[in-house]
Amino acid sequence: MRTKVIIFFILINFNVVNAITFSVDSNKILKNLRCLICQGQSVADSNSDFAQTIKIVVKDQINDGKSEKEIYDFLIEKYGEWIVYKPPFNKVNFVLWLFPYIALVSGGVIIFLFLKKRDNH
């Protein structure tokens, strides 16, 4: 009996974890989509015609089992990267993604050299 109860809870736990891992959060997607005809609003925040249509399409695609990446890829194909607030890393925008890190490291090196020089004096 005890073994059955343990197996039951393990199975339930496994299903819950699976559901959390594989479910696609529509709100997260809609917040990352720009309403193209609005002033600085995401699709999630807008009630415009365009935003409402995108909401329906995203919901349909989630129901069809599409992943978050597939949904973004579809919309980027149709509207360009401008539609997503967080564009995917690619060869066109890699400088934009890497620049903060490069600036951080370069700044660190400059400060290090500056301090080292001051110590030597």
Binding site: I37, D49, I56, V57, D60, K78, G80, S106, K116
Partner: protein
């Protein structure tokens, strides 16, 4: 040596910043979806206005050129472009496919009765879902495609006299 490194880093940084501003400020900041030109349209599933049959890619492949026009009776600029669409209907090489967008059927029919029906085929996109597949974000918008379903030109807003000339030249070639 260290001074040199610092100096060159600062110069490189300034060049980078100036470069970013130069490219950024010279870029057209008005958003459009004209970058779809050259892409092939796929997964066409448009419901016919009258009999609910589905218009697919195979239907459009039969035409040398198709102008897909998204319109609605509540859209004022659609009225402006309507006479041009009627003139385009005379082009032998071109078929006009109208997609009635988020509209009441009765209003759409009245619109066509009042202003004339330029369309060879008429479809309906009641919820606007199909329009996303065509990269539409406002109406009127029109897409000129060829036999291979490749987008030749995209018209955002009402079709103008210049657009009419362009379309005429393309389909008569």
């Amino acid at each position: 040596m260290q001074k040199k490194i610092i100096k060159s880093s600062i110069i490189l940084f300034l060049i980078f910043i100036i470069g970013v501003f130069f490219v950024g400020l010279n870029k057209n900041s008005i958003y459009d979806t004209k970058n779809l030109v050259g892409q092939k349209i796929t997964k066409i599933q448009l419901e016919r206005f009258n009999d609910k049959r589905i218009i697919t890619e195979d239907d459009l492949k039969k035409n040398n050129f198709t102008l897909i026009n998204f319109w609605a009776s509540w859209c004022a600029p659609c009225r402006d472009e309507h006479p041009i669409l009627i003139k385009l209907n005379d082009e032998k090489n071109l078929k006009l496919l109208g997609v009635n967008f988020k509209d009441k059927k009765s209003n759409a029919l009245e619109f066509l009765k009042d202003l004339g029906d330029p369309y060879d085929d008429l479809a309906r996109d009641e919820l606007g879902k199909q329009s996303i597949n065509f990269g539409i974000y406002g109406i009127p918008e029109s897409i000129l495609i060829n036999k291979n379903l490749v987008i030749i030109k995209k018209f955002i807003g009402p079709i103008s006299k210049n657009d009419y000339d362009d379309i005429k030249n393309i389909v008569r070639q």
